[in-house]
Structure formats: structure tokens, C-alpha cells
């Protein structure tokens, strides 16, 4: 009676169940669309076309996805250590200061590829530093990290407004932001890659080199979690603190290191916003990406491949949603947030809702596929 539920084959676990969850989310979202008197099928078409229909849409989708990959990876690393880092938003925001300082210092002197590595270091350093205090408080004082990281989001928001308005904003500027960054701090666009597939010329989309950085980070996170000693310790600690203590793994060390890495990854999101898009440090530059990262990490099962796919999905919802609210006036921006919320609800919070049914289904079709062989052969 130790395992009441048999396990599913990997493809069903990682492919079928998320797809079913997503389908249910869209069906419910469709009902919401119907409720406001629009045709849900047309809405779906507009959403998908807006995200993938033209080169411009694809570029925007991937630009948004870049943000979510960074913050999703950040949440995932902490999650593997059993820590719920809700502070990605604040960490990304404060990291913007690190990126900004590097860029303001270098953008007139050196080309972008010299600034870029320094900016990555600046983002990682400031993001990690902002995560360090909650991590320290959790490890040494037992202050719950969910509470402290939420509070640090608030502190970050106020701190950044102060720094931007009172210190970094040029006198003459109307808006609260730094001066415009010049060529040495502007990342090259990658729109040409999409154009290679024969789409029309993309004029303004900010899809840029930080997407590649995000992919590199996804690989490094995979390597860290599943192939290094540190990752082994993080996962052990995340699954069972007692087992970690038994194995001689330091609770304090793992908590702090995992949160530093998490903060650094969240921080890199600001590179995409500052150097890839706006070319200045501005108010609310994280724009909610830190929170979307939580949903992305949950939906992607804290695995880098899952996170990339979930990030693209949320990129679609962002970009396609913008098109949708433009095309269908009855569907406001808030409606789009409702649809995103439904996706989070079904894919994240309720991810196990359909699992027992699917397991029963699998068991009745093919007992072998759900590990019955393993159960039978257990007699020692």
C-alpha cells in the first residue's frame, strides 16, 4: 500500500497532462469570451494569428518569452531547493540598476559586445544581492522566504523610484527614467532570423540577443540541477531537509546559494528590457515578469525545457492578447489577464486535477505502461 497511484509514462506525464490542462483552460476561457458576447473561435484565431501570423508577431512573442525564461528559471532553481521565491519581480527590478550603471558607464566608450558581459555580471550581482537578504533571514533566522521576498518586491519598487527620480534622471527629462543609452549599450536585434523563414520585413519588434542568453542559461540551469554536486545537494535539500542533514548537507549554505542563483537569473531579465528594448532604465521595468515566472516554472515542472515551452506560451498570451484586445473591443486588457489567470489556474495550481483519471485510463488500457511490472516484481 505504499504507492496508491501508479506512475505514468514520461510522455504522458510531461506532454499529455499539460496539454489537457491547457485545453481545459482554453475551453473555460472560451466560455468567458462567450459571456461577453464575442465568438470564442474567432477570438482564438485572432490570438494565435496575433502571436504567430506575421513575423512581427513572432518577434514580439519571443521577446516576451525571453523575460519569462529568465524569471521562470529563477523560480525553478529556488523551487528545487524547496524555496518559493516570489521575489523575482523585485530582484529583476533592482538588477536593472546594476545593468543601468554598467551601461551608463560604458555605452559611449565600447561596442555592445564589450558592455554585454559586464551588464550580465551587473544584473546577476544586483539580482543576487537583492535575494541575499531574504535568503539569509530564512537560513539563519527562519523568517519565511515567501513573506520576505514579497516585502522585498515592495521595497525594490520604492527604492528604484527614488534612485531613478532623485539620482539618475537627467534634469531636463520629463519622464522618470535615465538618459537614453547609446549604441554601446544597445543589443542587436535578432529579427533577421525570423525573416530568414520568409516573413515580411520586421520593423520595430525588440527581439534581441538576450534571447540567446536565456537559452544558454536554460542549459546551464539544467547542468547545474541534474549534473553537478551542488545541484544534487539542492535537490536533496528540496525534497527532504532531514535527508539533507543526514547526508551532511548544510542547510544554510544550500538555502543561500540557491537563492543567490535564483536572484541572479531573475536579474538577467532586466537586460532584455533595458538593453534590448527601451534603452533606458525606467519605472516598473520588470512589468510583472517576475510573477509570470512563477506560473511558468510551475507549468514547466521546474525543468528548463518545460520552462522554455511555457514561456513561449505566455509570450503568445501576451502578444496575441494585445492583438485580441485591439481587434475585439469587448475584450479588454483585463479580459486577457483573466485568460492568463485561467491558464495559471489549470496548468499550475490544478495541475494534478486530471491525473488520477488519466492514470486509471492508462491502467485499464495497458497495465504495463504504468509500471505494473515493477510492482509485481517487488518480492525480495
Amino acid at each position: 500500500m505504499s504507492t496508491p497511484y501508479a506512475k505514468l509514462p514520461a510522455w504522458a506525464d510531461y506532454g499529455l497532462i499539460p496539454l489537457i490542462n491547457l485545453a481545459v483552460a482554453f475551453i473555460v476561457a472560451g466560455l468567458v469570451v462567450l459571456l461577453v458576447g464575442e465568438n470564442p473561435f474567432r477570438a482564438a484565431v485572432i490570438l494565435v494569428e496575433g502571436a504567430f501570423g506575421r513575423g512581427q508577431g513572432i518577434a514580439y512573442t519571443l521577446f516576451y518569452a525571453t523575460n519569462f525564461i529568465f524569471t521562470g528559471l529563477a523560480v525553478a532553481v529556488a523551487m528545487h531547493a524547496g524555496l518559493f521565491n516570489i521575489g523575482g519581480e523585485g530582484q529583476a527590478y533592482v538588477a536593472g540598476l546594476g545593468v543601468g550603471l554598467v551601461c551608463l558607464a560604458l555605452d559611449r566608450i565600447v561596442p555592445w559586445y564589450v558592455t554585454f558581459p559586464f551588464a550580465i555580471a551587473g544584473a546577476a550581482l544586483f539580482g543576487a544581492a537583492w535575494a541575499f537578504i531574504p535568503a539569509y533571514l530564512q537560513a539563519r533566522r527562519g523568517s519565511h522566504i515567501v513573506i520576505t521576498t514579497i516585502m522585498f518586491n515592495m521595497i525594490a519598487a520604492s527604492l528604484m523610484i527614488y534612485v531613478l527620480r532623485d539620482i539618475l534622471k537627467p534634469e531636463a527629462m520629463q519622464e522618470v527614467k535615465t538618459r537614453m543609452l547609446e549604441a554601446g549599450a544597445q543589443l542587436p536585434r535578432l529579427n533577421w532570423i525570423i525573416e530568414l523563414f520568409g516573413t515580411a520585413k520586421i520593423r520595430s519588434a525588440p527581439f534581441n540577443v538576450s534571447f540567446l542568453l536565456a537559452l544558454v542559461m536554460a542549459y546551464l540551469v539544467w547542468l547545474l540541477i541534474w549534473r553537478t554536486k551542488l545541484g544534487y545537494e539542492i535537490r536533496t535539500f528540496g525534497f527532504s531537509q532531514k535527508a539533507a542533514r543526514y547526508a551532511g548537507i548544510s542547510e544554510v549554505r544550500v538555502t543561500i546559494i540557491a537563492m543567490l542563483i535564483s536572484g541572479a537569473l531573475a536579474g538577467m531579465m532586466s537586460i532584455n528590457a533595458i538593453m534590448g528594448d527601451q534603452h533606458s532604465v525606467y519605472v516598473d521595468l520588470a512589468g510583472g515578469a517576475g510573477f509570470i515566472g512563477i506560473a511558468v516554472a510551475l507549468m514547466g515542472r521546474a525543468h528548463p525545457v518545460g520552462i522554455i515551452l511555457a514561456s513561449i506560451l505566455f509570450g503568445v498570451l501576451y502578444q496575441g492578447g494585445a492583438e485580441l484586445s485591439f481587434e475585439m473591443p469587448a475584450i479588454s486588457r483585463d479580459m486577457i489577464v483573466i485568460i492568463q489567470g485561467l491558464v495559471i489556474l489549470f496548468a499550475g495550481a490544478l495541475e494534478h486535477m486530471f491525473r488520477p483519471y488519466i492514470q486509471t485510463l492508462f491502467a485499464s488500457i495497458s497495465p504495463k505502461s504504468v509500471g505494473m511490472a515493477a510492482v509485481k516484481g517487488e518480492g525480495a
Partner: protein, 510 residues
């Protein structure tokens, strides 16, 4: 011919793909004590949970006193006269006995009249069955044996004619267990029907009238207790012949490997759990620590293995001290040759969500053999895991399988393989066969004896007195945090039982 109190006909129950009960037929005669034995995972608890309304059978019929019964909730079970005494008591610790008895069976909106009624009824039950308990005592102040008595009274108060007891002696001293059996016999004489679930065959032989054996979800046999033997039952449970006695030669004890002096350990609440304990474990011997669960054995193991801080005292390993104040680093102790098989393999000894191969390096993950720079050497880990799987006959032989999907016995083998194969000088082992099937117990015991014969020092903690007696070369008994006596392996069960119950003081005074 007495009629059946309970008839189960063709009961089936599956959890997902696992068939926990298949085509179970069982008839329990009224006014008898009926034992149900089987290894862990054989389906005993599932079957009883169906009878008590925790689970619904997928198919099959339950008849109580000859009439078909529909039991959907525990209230239905109570209404049909079935009561259950759980392995882990379902009592509210800070309520009195009386308050616990009426909990869920209050007759009015106001408690006062219920309590008055309950008190006279309780007193009647206590007199009738010889189950004396002070109705106004607070549960947490009662010893475990009395708490169990409250559970039995609770069932009787609700009018139970059929009483199910799930592993009732797991937490009792031998003397308390004997007392329980006397109570059960008395209940039987009064016409109650008793179903006793246990894995201890000796208890079955001592008290039951008939016994049913379960294996892998099926009912393999029902016997009249008089006409069967322990050997036959063990064979039915496992499906093959089992060696119940451990064969071992004389111990050749050598130099002192592990020495504990005046050790004091407190738990999280600041209660002294280990009180001035001293002993030595020498090379080539097994020292067993007997005692009822909760008398400080767990804390002792944790302090020695570096998981828990000690308050004072000293522990030396190969003559060199272990730092106990800052909670010694378990990783460092491992390097010094102290291996630890913890009591709780599910949460401490293993990470159940890990693949088998990942657990085969837990605690030894800093070892250079498993690393390539900062990266894990996956090939080396896998080869090592396969090697251990073969040596310890771990099934299924798949190092990529999630650890949670192994049976209890095989999980324990994973831990043992990891710790023993590091070739430690000292092995400390907590409850090595708890929740382990009979077949694996035999294997584990042989391994521990083999460690001893190789000249290793083994410290064994177990609440199974049989295990302690058959493995140990010296037996220490712990009671209330102290070592209250040391005996040789030839000490009788009664003698050890008295020590475990804390009756040593008088004897020492003589």
C-alpha cells in the same frame, strides 16, 4: 456450528494500477479471535479499511451477522457494530479519557448531560471488562498501554460487537502486550468477535482461534491456529521457506571502536531524552539497544551520527573525539568510517523522489569516485549502483527507477548497500527491518552478522525484541533515556521485558 460475524465475499480493490485486494473471501466466526497476517503491502490494512468504511471496495459483498451491509463511512461501520483500534491512536491528547470517549457520540447540544450519561456507562464497561482507567485522566499523561485501553473502551462505548485491532502491540512492552491479550480473551468470553492484524506470528499463535494469511493482495490460506505452526505461516506469507533463526558463531570482540561517555541529549522541546548514557562498542561485536519506542534510542542514534546536537558528554570514534556540541558534520564522520542506517528510511535515509542511483550516493556525494570536477560522474554512479543492485539483490534491478516505487524491503536494501559497501569501521543501525518483508529481514540479518564477522563494530537499535535477542552479542536496555541494564543474548524475554518497563530499580537495590 457458530455463525459468522463477518463474511467478505469476492472483495476487490485497486489503487490506480495496483490491485491491493483481489477476490478476497473471508469468514470470521462470532465469538472468536481471528488473526490476519501478511507482509507489509500484502493488503491487510486495505481490507480492514474497507470493512471500516475508509475505502469502498470496487466489487464484492460484506455481510455482518448474515445480513448484507453497506459500509460507506466509519459511522456506518459503527452502526453495524464494528469498532476499530488503530495502530496510531486517534485520541485528542489534551482531552480527558471521558471527553475522548464521547467525542463524536455526544447525545445533546450541551455537553453536561452527555458527560453524566457517559460516565455511568463508562464505569459499567470498565467493571464488566476489567478495563480500569481513570475517566478524568488527561490522555497525554497516560502510558501508552492505557491509551490503547481508552481506544478499546471508545469502540465498546459505541456498541461494538466486532473489534478490529491493527498491529496493537507495536508500541507496547511485552508485559503490556500480555495484559492486552488477557483483555482480548475476556472480551471474547463475553461474546465479542475480535480481528487481530499483526505481522508477529508469535502473537497469532498465543491468542487467536483461527488465522488467515494474505500475500500480494490475495487471501492464500485460513487455518485453525491449533493445527498450524509458525513455520507454516511464515512460509505461506512469503511463498517460500524462511529461516527464522539467525545462525551465527561466537563473537570475537576486539578493540573499542566507538565509545560513548555520559552522553546527554535533549529534544526540540528541551526535554532530556538521553540521560547520562555510557557504553562501548568493540570491533567484531553487535551491541543491541532494546527498549520501547520513545525512550531515547532515536535521539541517541542521531547524536552519535552527527544529526542532532548533544548537551554534554563525549563520543570517541577509533579513540579520537567526535565534536558533539556543534552537531558534528555527518559527512566528516562518514569519512572517518562511521556509517549510519537511520530509523526512518523514508524521510532521512532516502529521498523517495530520487532515482535509485541518486540515492546510492546520498551522503557520499562528495566522494571523488562519483565526481568529475564540479560535475557528477553519471557513468561511475550508474555503474556503482548496478553493482550494489546485483550484490544486494535489489528488485526491480533498475537504477533509473524512482525510489518510492521500490518495496520497503528493497528500499532498506538500498540504504544498507550504500552504507555497508563503503566499508565503514563502525555501523550504527536503527530499526533495520521495520516495515520490511520477511524475506528481506532474513537477508538483512545475515548482512549485519557478516559485518560483525568481518570485525566491524555494529550498534543496533530496534524495538523488536526478537531481533535484538537474535542478533546482539550484548544487549543494553534503555528506559526513560537511561541505560537501565546490560544483559547477554541468553537473557530471557521476560527479564528484558521487565527492564524495558523500567522495573530494574528494585532489582538494583537488592
Amino acid at each position: 456450528m457458530a455463525e459468522a460475524a463477518i463474511e467478505l465475499i469476492g472483495i476487490n480493490k485497486s489503487f490506480g494500477a495496483v490491485r491491493a485486494n483481489r477476490d478476497i473471501n473471508l469468514e470470521i466466526t462470532r465469538g472468536t479471535i481471528h488473526g490476519i497476517v501478511g507482509e507489509n503491502g500484502a493488503g491487510k490494512s486495505t481490507l480492514m479499511s474497507i470493512l471500516y468504511g475508509f475505502y469502498q471496495a470496487d466489487s464484492g459483498e460484506i455481510r455482518v451477522n448474515g445480513k448484507p451491509a453497506t459500509i460507506r463511512t466509519s459511522n456506518d461501520a459503527i452502526a453495524t457494530g464494528i469498532g476499530m483500534v488503530h495502530q496510531h491512536f486517534m485520541l485528542v491528547d489534551n482531552f480527558t479519557v471521558l471527553e475522548n470517549i464521547i467525542l463524536g457520540a455526544e447525545s445533546d447540544a450541551l455537553l453536561k448531560s452527555s458527560i453524566a450519561k457517559a460516565r455511568s456507562e463508562l464505569e459499567r464497561l470498565e467493571r464488566e471488562y476489567g478495563l480500569e482507567v481513570d475517566p478524568d485522566a488527561i490522555i497525554e499523561e497516560l502510558p501508552v498501554g492505557l491509551q490503547q485501553r481508552v481506544e478499546i473502551l471508545k469502540a465498546l462505548y459505541r456498541g461494538a460487537e466486532i473489534l478490529i485491532l491493527d498491529e496493537p502491540t507495536g508500541v507496547l512492552t511485552p508485559a503490556e502486550a500480555d495484559h492486552l491479550f488477557r483483555i482480548l480473551k475476556q472480551l471474547k468470553d463475553q461474546g465479542k468477535t475480535i480481528v487481530l492484524i499483526t505481522h508477529k506470528l508469535r502473537e497469532i499463535m498465543a491468542i487467536t482461534d483461527s488465522v488467515s494469511v494474505m500475500r500480494q493482495g490475495t487471501m492464500v490460506a485460513t487455518r485453525e491456529t491449533k493445527k498450524t505452526t509458525v513455520e507454516e505461516l511464515a512460509e505461506l506469507m512469503v511463498g517460500r521457506r524462511v529461516l527464522l533463526r539467525v545462525e551465527k558463531g561466537e563473537a570475537k570482540a576486539g578493540e573499542v571502536k566507538l565509545s560513548v561517555k555520559n552522553l546527554v541529549v535533549k529534544d526540540q522541546r528541551g526535554v532530556t531524552m538521553v540521560d547520562d548514557v555510557s557504553f562501548d562498542v568493540r570491533a567484531g561485536e553487535i551491541v543491541g539497544i532494546a527498549g520501547v519506542a520513545g525512550n531515547g534510542q532515536s535521539e541517541l542514534l542521531e547524536a552519535i551520527s552527527g544529526i542532532r546536537k548533544a548537551v554534554s558528554g563525549s563520543v570517541t570514534l577509533d579513540g579520537k573525539p567526535i565534536d558533539l556540541t556543534g552537531a558534528a558534520d555527518p559527512g566528516e564522520l562518514r569519512q572517518r568510517g562511521l556509517a549510519h542506517v537511520p530509523e526512518d528510511r523514508h524521510h532521512v535515509g532516502l529521498v523517495l523522489a530520487f532515482e535509485e542511483n541518486e540515492n546510492s550516493i546520498l551522503g557520499y556525494h562528495n566522494d571523488k569516485r562519483y565526481l568529475k570536477g564540479p560535475l557528477l560522474d553519471v557513468d561511475a554512479i550508474m555503474a556503482d549502483a548496478k553493482d550494489k543492485i546485483a550484490k544486494y539483490d535489489i528488485r526491480p534491478a533498475n537504477p533509473r527507477l524512482k525510489t518510492a516505487n521500490f518495496s520497503g524491503g528493497n528500499q532498506q536494501k538500498i540504504v544498507l548497500a550504500r552504507e555497508i559497501e563503503q566499508d565503514p569501521g563502525v555501523l550504527i543501525v536503527g530499526q533495520p527491518t521495520r516495515g520490511v518483508d520477511v524475506g528481506a529481514i532474513e537477508f538483512i540479518h545475515k548482512r549485519l552478522i557478516a559485518m560483525r564477522d568481518q570485525g566491524k563494530a555494529v550498534l543496533l537499535v530496534s524495538v523488536e525484541l526478537d531481533e535484538i535477542r537474535s542478533l546482539s552479542d550484548r544487549i543494553l536496555v534503555m528506559f526513560a533515556g537511561r541505560v537501565v541494564g546490560e544483559r547477554g543474548p541468553e537473557a530471557s524475554e521476560g527479564e528484558l521485558g521487565l527492564l524495558m518497563a523500567g522495573v530494574e530499580q528494585k532489582e538494583a537495590a537488592e
